[in-house]
């Protein structure tokens, strides 16, 4: 053993030293040390549990957020659809009203045209009659001699019977 550089006395002393250390350690420091280790282990487990809880809560919050976003989107879509429907309805009503008003205007315009046409025809007729009677008056004045007038008078008297 001395050939390989190992001192037996030193080795034994080291071994005794080690045993003494183990015994002393076991007697004095093992318990608190183990307690510290156990505490650390427990704390570590608690930290892990807490981390899991936080993670779960985080997931739940994320899910709630996604759900709320989806709900809001659904409500927004619904509102948009309703607004679109109302706008469409209002548009149809306005178009119908415009159509009614334009038809009424056309009807009134046609009635007015007809009325003016009738008035014009009446006026034309009156002018024609007036012109004709004036012409006849003129012709009769020039054409009727005194003898003819006497004959007209006789005819009137005969018809009076």
């Amino acid at each position: 053993m001395e050939n390989i550089g190992v001192d037996m006395r030193l080795l034994v002393a080291q071994l005794v030293n080690f045993v003494l250390f183990v015994v002393l350690f076991k007697m004095l420091a093992a318990k608190p040390f183990m307690k510290v280790l156990a505490d650390e282990k427990r704390k570590d487990e608690e930290r892990k549990k807490l981390a899991t809880i936080i993670e779960d809560q985080k997931h739940a919050a994320e899910e709630a957020k996604v759900k709320m976003q989806e709900e809001m989107k659904a409500k927004l879509d619904e509102s948009l659809a309703l607004a679109r429907e109302q706008a469409e309805h209002t548009k149809k009503e306005l178009l119908a009203q415009a159509k009614r008003e334009s038809e009424e205007l056309v009807r009134k315009a046609n009635a007015q045209i007809e009325e003016e046409k009738r008035a014009l025809e009446q006026s034309y007729r009156e002018k024609v009659v007036k012109a004709s009677t004036v012409t006849v008056e003129g012709v009769l004045k020039d054409y009727l001699t005194e003898d003819m007038q006497k004959k007209v008078t006789e005819r009137i008297l005969t018809n009076l019977n």
């Binding site: 009156e126 009659v129 007036k130 009677t133 006849v136 008056e137 009769l140 004045k141 009727l144 005194e146 003819m148 007038q149 006497k150 007209v152 008078t153 009137i156 008297l157 009076l160």
Partner: protein
């Protein structure tokens, strides 16, 4: 204004006389100058104007026929009135 009753009566009498006189005048309007026989023949057809004084008037504007009037009564048998009726 109060009138004297005698004056009022006189005015009333005068008005009645004039009205009576106007009623008695019969106006005959023709487009030519008729003879006496023609006037008599015409007036014979209107006994309601008998007894009145006939005044003959020539008016070429009536064209032909005649108009008999006495006071407010007018009988218009002229061609002109017939043409006006057509108008």
């Amino acid at each position: 204004m109060k009138l004297d009753p005698a004056l009022k009566q006189q005015l009333k009498n005068q008005l009645e006389r004039e009205l009576k006189e106007a009623r008695r005048v019969v106006k005959l309007t023709l487009a030519y100058t008729p003879s006496e026989e023609e006037v008599k023949a015409i007036m014979a057809r209107f006994p309601q104007f008998a007894g009145g004084r006939v005044v003959v008037e020539k008016d070429e504007s009536i064209i032909s026929g005649f108009i008999v009037s006495c006071g407010s009564k007018v009988i218009d048998l002229s061609i002109k009135s017939q043409l006006n009726t057509i108008r």
